[in-house]
């Protein structure tokens, strides 16, 4: 194992901002900042308005940051519209729907609330993510 591309300072600052964003949603709206749940609820929940505002904010936050910093977008380097992208999107969508959460809902908010369910969920998606990257390198 070699450690490469490690960016501890932006990672920690970004993490603190993510924590604050989650805290702000909780103290103002009483809601959990789980992106998958918020997004899903835009379609099938009775309270759609705050969800749409949050998601619009999220989209604008990413847009605003990249516009202001004009940072090079590395995402284009490794993403193509191919079968892999579609399969991954289906798995991320159905997996987060079945497990009621993703990296934010279980990984940040759930663990902050110290729930057993979110701890199990986080361990499982981390493990399967690592296993997938490992297997992908073999083939």
């Amino acid at each position: 194992m070699n450690i490469i591309n490690f960016t501890p300072v932006p990672a920690l600052i970004g993490g603190l901002i993510l924590g604050l964003a989650s805290v702000l949603l909780l103290i103002s709206n009483g809601k959990i900042a789980g992106i998958s749940g918020i997004a899903k609820g835009m379609f099938n929940s009775p309270d759609k308005a705050w969800r749409m505002f949050f998601i619009v904010g999220l989209i604008l936050g990413g847009f605003g940051y990249h516009t202001l910093t004009s940072e090079e977008l590395k995402t284009e380097n490794i993403l193509n519209i191919d079968l892999k992208l579609i399969i991954a999107a289906i798995l991320v969508g159905s997996g987060t729907a079945l497990g009621n959460g993703c990296t934010s809902g279980h990984g940040i908010c759930g663990l902050s609330r110290r729930t057993k369910r979110s701890f199990v969920a986080t361990c499982v998606f981390m493990a399967f993510g690592m296993l997938t990257v490992y297997l992908e390198k073999l083939f």
């Binding site: 970004g14 993490g15 964003a21 009483g30 099938n44 999220l58 079945l98 499982v124």
Partner: protein
């Protein structure tokens, strides 16, 4: 007021993801690549978020109600059923394949071109369809 705060929370979340570098699928896959060229950044992102969250969440939820709502909407389920294993397992495979989870997909929506838009749309359809089938 609550909608304004939902918007600001989302905006901050998007900034946080972008600052942390987690909008870059390459960095996420780098974190998952523990046996190869490992990029530990994601661990510090989680650490930073949990530092703030684990101190303030218990404090906030002790209050009777949030600022602009009549009550907290917190998940009440805490049992370990098959869905809490199967769901995150499927999510983990998709996450490992592409290095994108729902947050960064949205934060990247206007800045990373067509592949992200396609990913996000397929993800949303898959989410809604799965939810319909589940119930």
């Amino acid at each position: 007021m609550k909608l304004l705060f939902a918007l600001i929370s989302g905006f901050l979340f998007g900034i946080g993801l972008s600052v942390s570098g987690m909008t870059d699928p390459h960095k996420v896959k780098g974190f998952l690549d523990i046996t190869g060229n490992w990029d530990p950044s994601l661990a510090l992102v989680m650490g930073g978020a949990l530092l703030v969250g684990s101190i303030l969440f218990p404090y906030i939820t002790q209050k009777k109600k949030p600022l602009f709502e009549s009550g907290f909407s917190l998940p009440t389920k805490n049992d370990i059923d098959k869905y809490i294993i199967i769901g995150p397992a499927l999510f983990g495979i998709g996450w490992g394949l592409i290095g994108l989870c729902p947050g960064p997909a949205f934060a990247n929506l206007l800045v990373a071109g067509k592949p992200i838009v396609v990913f996000t749309l397929v993800m949303l359809i898959s989410k809604v369809v799965t939810d319909k089938l589940k119930t």
